[in-house]
Structures are given as structure tokens and as C-alpha cells.
Amino acid sequence: MEEQVILDVKNLSTTFHTERGDYQAVSGVSFQVHRGEILGVVGESGCGKSVTSQSILRLYDERREACYSGEVLLEGRDLLSIPIKEMQRLRGSEISMIFQDALSTLNPVLTIGYQLREPMRIHEKLSRKEADLNAVELLRLVGIPEPEQRMHQYPHELSGGMRQRVMIAIALACRPKLLIADEPTTALDVTIQAQIMALLLSLNRQLHMGVILITHDLAVVAETCSRAVVMYLGQVVEEAPVEELFRHPLHPYTQGLIASVPHLDDPGKEQLHVIPGTVPFLEDIPTGCRFAPRCPYATDQCRREMPQLQEAGSQRVRCWHIRSEGGV
């Protein structure tokens, strides 16, 4: 793997302005994405995965909805401080995104071809004909049979898996350096999920771009990613190469997540592990370690003070117990 960093997120925070006050949905997230690698971002619902990804593209309206802080460096350039016009130019050409809901991310009244041409028309100023030919090649690249016909069909004429493939084709239209896939398979059934993940993996190798794969499915992470970031309540709690993460997870939350995945080869009919409690609302974030209320190892120190991310071998963990015992 080349060690060239494409995206460097430093201390990113996103605060939403709401009627009931400001809530920080993402606080101080840092990670790096290298060229040609797939970085997994894992966590429960509501832990800030999607907000992080949309913040990287600055998709929230800064005048009304949200405010960002920190730095998001795309090849050294800070995306959070460039003018919005410049950001629009980068979206879709340098960074693009695949959304969770494959069924509603295509405009129902326009043909597949029209929507595939769109990014090329915006960014590369191609003529309609050139864009059309490129679009057919893209459809072929993402494994859609009879691409010439699909070009003239409407989204409702395609199945869910096909639509997600089309979305991937649109995202790849301008050969971005970074692809953010926000739970690309949640709306699809299992066999199609596997196909889409295999497609992403092969495209990642073929086109050599960085991919951020956001998911709550640890199996997907184990299969596709080289490194993973575990998020809890808007913070990174652990970051590690995937093998390390599964072999010795250091953070109690990661341990809980891994323990709650069912195993087919488990001999006993034991109950699945459950992490007690739920993700708290943003209104009552604990003062100390954010995971402390649900953590089986929590001490007074955990409840009082927020631990920092610390290096532990090739891993980085946000937990007080690391220094004392080298893992819990």
C-alpha cells in the first residue's frame, strides 16, 4: 500500500443549530485516508458516522443548519476554509459520495443516461455525445448488463441493486480521488449486498482511489477494509488495522461490538452479547468518558475525566485502562 495521504481529517467538529440549542454531533474526529485503501468507519446508529461524512463534503447549510470546526485536508488543501463555489467544483470531481438509500437517490423523472451525464457535464464540460459514450462505459464498469438500453430507462424500471450500481457509476463518473460510501448496502438484500461490496472492492483496486466505507456491519469491515475507525457518540474511540481490531480490540465498546456479532460456528446456543443501555441523546452527554455509563469496566476516573486518544502499538484508543494494563 502506498503511504500517500489523500484525506486528513483533523479535529473535525460539527455543531447543529436547532430550536432547542446547539448540539455537537461530531466532536473532534481525526483520521487519515491513504490512496488506494478502504477505511471502515463503524458505530451504532446515531454515533455521527453519516454526519462526519457529510461534513467532509460540507453538505450542511452553513448559514442556517450547522457550523464546522477543525480541518479537512484533501491533499493538503483545507476543505472547510475554501469558498463554497470551490467546494462545489470539488464535489463529484475529487470527492464523491454514495448514499444509503439506493431507492431514492435517483431522480424519478429523468433517465439514467441524463443523470449519469450530469457530473461529466458539470465538471468536465463534455459534450452530450462524449458524455453519453463515457456513461455507457461507466455502466459497463459497474457491471450493468445491456448498458445501452439502461441509458434510456427511468429509475423505476431498475431493481434496487441496479440503482445502487448506477449511483456508484455516477459517483465514479469523474474519477474521484476519494469515494465516501455511506452504508451503501442498507437498502438492499443480502446477496445484492455482497455483490455491491465486491464491486466496491474491485473498483477500489482498479481505480486506486481512497474509499471511506461507513457501515454498522462488522462483517463487511472485516472483509473489505484495511483499517477501521470505531466511533461512539461523535468521537473516535478506537482506530486500528482491521486484523488488530478483530484480534485484540482494546476499547470496551469495540469489544462489545465484536462480541455482539453472531457466529455460525458457535457450538453453544448462548444468547448474543448485548451492550447494555442505548446511545444517550446529545443533550445529556456524560462528562467523563462518553462510554462510561455503558462500560462494564468504568471507574470513578472514567466518569470524571475524558480520556484522550493514545497510541497503543499500531492502534489508537480512547480509554483510561490502556495505560495501566495494556488493554482490558
Binding site: R91, S93, L106, N107, G113, Y154
Partner: protein, 294 residues
């Protein structure tokens, strides 16, 4: 891996478009009500365009000797109190109604869509435009039209203008509400993530989504402006007295309603049929435009 040649791609596109059109037309053909509506609309359009060829007499020519003749071979729909041929006047009246309907629906449609689309873009603009529309809607539209007509004077241009003004608020509201719904869809967000500007999203992605509702609404505006023009003329606030218009003929006929039924019945039937026709046509169009129903 075969590569596609340009020619193949566009040939295929032509074939598929033809096929889609065929399927849609067949579907429209199965919808009886829509076919009836379309036929009525077509007949009305032909009458309006070919009025000079169809009319048997000059609609303005007086023949005092032939006053209040019942329908006969010479005067198909009889004559009115000044001996004018009712058939020819009804035919020319069709032309008036179609011109009024077309101009009002097109101008209200275009202006309403513009206002609605832009109202959906910003909260401030939304409030300003929609409160203006509320203000216009607060006055009953026919009263408002009468007011405008008395200020502007009887003329077909003024009828079109005042009816358009009263139809714009409804149009703008429909365009706005549809645009607001579309704006919240995931695909708009996905578009933003591909770097599309707001203007591009508004015109190339939101507008095509709302255009079918607008066209359907335009046919209803067409129908209602036919009625309103007839009503204004009937009340003497529409076209100048003597001009051939269904409302004017009805208005003339009300004095002799007990001894000359033909003065009321024929323009009445034409008004009714055309309004019915345009409404059915609009319903048919609604089904036709829905791309998710094939």
C-alpha cells in the same frame, strides 16, 4: 468488452423512445374518459381555428327582418333579437373562448411556475411571494376580475389580463408546494454531492418533476377561464357588447328566454361541453405524464 459506437446508442435511444411513446399512447387509448376529453378538446380547437370556414353567416351581420327565428336549415341555431345568426356567433364564440383559455392558462402557468420555484428557494422570498398570493386569493376571483375589468375597459386583452392575475396565485402555490416536496428528496442531496449548483438543481432537476402537475393544472385553469370569461361577458364586464362570445349570447338571450330557447341552449351546451372536455383531458394528461405508471 465491446465498445459502443455512437450510432448504435442513438439508434437504440430512438427505438426506446418510440416504444415508450407507443406504450403510453396505448394506455391513453384504453382510458375512455381521457379519449372523450381529448376528442372534445380537439374538436373545439378545430372549430376555433376554422371558424371562418364553418360559420354560415357573418356573426356581426344584422337582419332585423329575421329576428328570433327558430332553428332552421338556413339558421342552424336560429337567430337572436337583432337577427344575427346564432350558429355563426357560437362558432366565433368558440374562437374567443379558446383564445382566452389558452392565453390565460399559458401565462398563469409560466408566471406561476417561476414564482413557485423561486419561492421554494429561500424563506424570505417564500414569505413575500406567498403573502402576496394570499392577498390576491382573499378577494373572490370573479369579483376581483370584475373590478379589474371596470378599471381597464371591455376588451379581450383585458379579460385575459385580469383572469391571468386571478389564476396566478393558485398556480404559484401548486408549483411551490411540489418544489418543496422535491427539494427534500434524497436525490437532490445526492446531486449536491456531485457538485451541482443550486440554479442547476432548480431548473434541470426540480422543474421537470413539477411540470406535469403544472400542465394538468393549466388544463383546469383553461376550463375555469372559459367559464369566467362567459360569466364576465354575461355580466357585461367582459368582451364589448355585440362581440361574439358565449357569455354575450347568453346575456342577450336571457330577455327572451321564454320564447327563444335556442339563444340559451346552444351557447350553454358549448360552454358545458368544452369545460367538461378540458377537465377530462386534464385527468387523462395526469395519468399520461406519470412516468412511474407504465
Amino acid at each position: 468488452m465491446t465498445s459502443t459506437s455512437e450510432k448504435d446508442l442513438y439508434l437504440l435511444q430512438k427505438q426506446m423512445l418510440q416504444e415508450q411513446r407507443r406504450i403510453k399512447l396505448r394506455r391513453l387509448g384504453r382510458n375512455r374518459v381521457a379519449v372523450i376529453g381529448t376528442l372534445i378538446v380537439l374538436v373545439m380547437a378545430v372549430i376555433a381555428i376554422a371558424a371562418p370556414l364553418i360559420a354560415t353567416h357573418d356573426p356581426y351581420a344584422f337582419a332585423v327582418a329575421d329576428r328570433l327565428q327558430p332553428p332552421s336549415a338556413q339558421h342552424l341555431f336560429g337567430t337572436d333579437s337583432m337577427g344575427q345568426d346564432v350558429f355563426s356567433r357560437v362558432i366565433y364564440g368558440t374562437r374567443t373562448s379558446m383564445i382566452v383559455g389558452l392565453c390565460v392558462s399559458v401565462s398563469a402557468g409560466v408566471i406561476g411556475t417561476l414564482l413557485g420555484l423561486y419561492a421554494s428557494t429561500s424563506k424570505v422570498l417564500d414569505h413575500v411571494l406567498m403573502r402576496l398570493c394570499d392577498g390576491l386569493k382573499a378577494i373572490p376571483s370573479i369579483l376581483f376580475a370584475i373590478c379589474l375589468m371596470t378599471m381597464l375597459g371591455p376588451d379581450i386583452k383585458n379579460v385575459i389580463l385580469s383572469l391571468a392575475i386571478t389564476s396566478i396565485p393558485n398556480m404559484a402555490r401548486i408549483a411551490r408546494s411540489e418544489a418543496l416536496v422535491v427539494r427534500e428528496q434524497t436525490y437532490v442531496e445526492a446531486l449536491r454531492s456531485t457538485g451541482a449548483t443550486e440554479t442547476r438543481i432548480l431548473w434541470l432537476h426540480i422543474a421537470p418533476n413539477i411540470i406535469s402537475s403544472i400542465i394538468v393544472q393549466m388544463t383546469f385553469v383553461f376550463a375555469s377561464s372559459i367559464i369566467q370569461e362567459a360569466a364576465l361577458s354575461f355580466l357585461g364586464a367582459g368582451l364589448p357588447a355585440g362581440a361574439p362570445s358565449w357569455g354575450n349570447i347568453l346575456s342577450d338571450g336571457k330577455n327572451s328566454i321564454y320564447n327563444a330557447w335556442w339563444l340559451i341552449v346552444y351557447p350553454g351546451i358549448f360552454t358545458m361541453l368544452s369545460v367538461l372536455g378540458f377537465n377530462l383531458f386534464g385527468d387523462g394528461l395526469r395519468d399520461f405524464f406519470d412516468p412511474t405508471k407504465v
